[in-house]
Amino acid sequence: MSFIEVSNISKTYKISKRKSGVPGMLANLFVPKYENKEAVKNVSFSIEKGEMVGFVGPNGAGKSTTIKMLSGILYPDTGEINVSGLIPYKQRKEYVSRIGVVFGQKSQLQWDLPVIDSFELLKAIYSIPDDVYKKNLDRYMEMLDMDKFIKQPVRQLSLGQRMRADIAAALLHSPEIVFFDEPTIGVDVVGKDAIRNFIKDLNAEDGVTMIFTTHDMQDIEKTCNRLVIISEGSKIYDGTLDGVRKLHGSSRQLDVYFMNDSEVAEIPDVEIVEVDKRHSQFIFDGKKVHINDLMSHLLGTYNVKDINISEPDIESIIRKIYSREKVAG
């Protein structure tokens, strides 16, 4: 049995169909009150202690819902979750002392209080022993570079600063597992870097199990080697990032910039996108089209000023996976 064992969980939200206003009230007499919305369908996975796993997927795929079930905020309608012998939504009291939760969208800090006061408050709520609190605080202060803003009220912080404070807050009681729902949302490059490094270090040094969701593929690329893709409530991929890349490995995009306005003629097996009169993109499979032939054709036919050639980035691969799922589903 793994550290975290999730088997066949499903979650359906009941949403009210009632219309507002007086005409709505009349209409409500005749329609069923609720409509069901399946957010998570039959999802299973297991995670070992000390692992770091990133969840990605389209908007509304069910990532946040999954995180909420894992952290015991929501219960699954069917299926089971077991975390080292505990059932999150049943043994909630015991469970919360062992986990940390960060929602990128929602702060658990007090809006009008200085950050440090919120920390003190959490210390009291979780009854964190003095020595543990002090040790963690000192360490996170340094790792997350918080001394510049620790005395400021939360409402004055930038998004990146607030997120760092929230992450520290969720970790003051030394949890074994941390759940992050979009921890880098709206954070700038520098802040993202700080957060990624922190997550990575804590995982490596303390063996904290880390589970997070994100829309930024760089988060995955720079931190963890396991990725779970959720789409329309179901798990559609569980493996490494390289594994995703290999599925789409040999395609290439060649950007050609011309000296003068050029009409580009068709080329077999090459998709041509005219960006403007002096810039066209050639997209092809490196296994089918010989780059040498293509290049000599282009250099021989047109007045080429500059070229650029790239592999598809992970973002466009992911985009393809999402849209294919939609077509298939």
């Binding site: 908007n59 949302i185 829309h215 973002e315």
Partner: protein
């Protein structure tokens, strides 16, 4: 469309620029360099301490609200729709406020709801939707009045890859039809895809923040990040590259890797030389990430 003359406010110091019609300007800079402050000044939400801001020829503070169909603003924390409305209701209410004729509204709504993909949940209240589903709807709502000038502060937050691409496409298409856009984002790839010009804010020698660059990405790369890296795989004889003005290079029996400064030599020149000698099987060019400018200028 937007004109700043020696504007100072909070962290921003002495900012001057002119944003011409039909341009898409990407505003970038590290956290705390004042991107949102600049957008708020342009939106008339903030007043400059010094200097003068004019938008569509007027003072945006005095005119805020009055000509809002001409200026659209999307900013986290300034909700476009009410949480307890659905997309269909909420956007319908907006259309009435903006006096958009019913038929015209239908046309725009159909198109945007299709593009941003929220048809299937257009009747659900926003508070019962996922974060990204909500943002999709709020973005679509921003486009509904078809503003002449659109100010977007980090619009891609919370969007999945597909929605990010949709947003880029919609902005590009509107810009082609004459809409002017000022956009901030931490997603520099997206800024690079979209912008006709890039503006960079960066800490200056004092405690403030100033504009260190305003121009096209090409010029930006030329000035700050001119060195690219090219990898060429080949079969056949080893090419002669001694005559090329490269920064550095390495050659093996089947691979050539070089760094070159695009101010002195272009990739096609290098390639032309290589292809004279050997048969190329693969080429990769890596331009430095725009992020590096921000990390470096911090």
């Amino acid at each position: 469309m937007i004109n700043f003359e020696n504007v100072s406010k909070f962290i921003l110091e002495d900012i001057s620029f002119n944003l011409p019609k039909g341009e898409v300007v990407g505003l970038i800079g590290a956290s705390g360099t004042g991107k949102t402050t600049l957008v708020k000044l342009a939106a008339g939400i903030l007043k400059p301490e010094h200097g003068r801001v004019s938008v569509l020829g007027k003072n945006p503070v005095l005119n805020r609200g009055k000509y809002s169909t001409r200026v659209g603003v999307f900013m986290t924390g300034i909700p476009v729709l009410s949480e307890s409305d659905s997309a269909l209701n909420g956007i319908g209410i907006l259309a009435k406020m903006y006096d958009i004729p019913e038929l015209e509204f239908q046309k725009r709504y159909d198109e945007l709801s299709q593009l941003f993909g929220f048809r299937t949940y257009e009747r659900e209240r926003l508070k019962e939707l996922s974060v990204g589903q909500r943002r999709r709807i709020e973005l679509a709502a921003t486009f509904i009045p078809e503003p002449e000038l659109l100010l977007l502060d980090e619009p891609e937050i919370g969007l999945d890859e597909e929605a990010k691409q949709t947003l880029e496409e919609v902005i590009k298409e509107r810009a082609e039809r004459g809409m002017t856009v000022l956009i901030t984002s931490h997603d520099l790839q997206s800024i690079s895809n979209l912008s006709t010009r890039i503006m960079i804010l960066s800490p200056n020698s004092g405690k403030h923040s100033g504009m260190i660059f305003y121009g096209t990405e090409d010029v930006l790369r030329h000035r700050f990040l001119p060195v690219n890296r090219m990898t060429i795989k080949y079969e056949g004889s080893i090419p002669m590259v001694d005559d090329l003005p490269l920064v550095k290079y390495s050659l093996t029996h089947d691979e050539f890797i070089c760094e070159y400064d695009e101010r002195y030599v272009s990739s096609s020149e290098i390639l032309t030389v290589i292809m004279k000698h050997t048969r190329v099987t693969d080429i990769k060019i890596k331009k430095p990430d725009l992020e590096q400018i921000i990390l470096r200028e911090r």
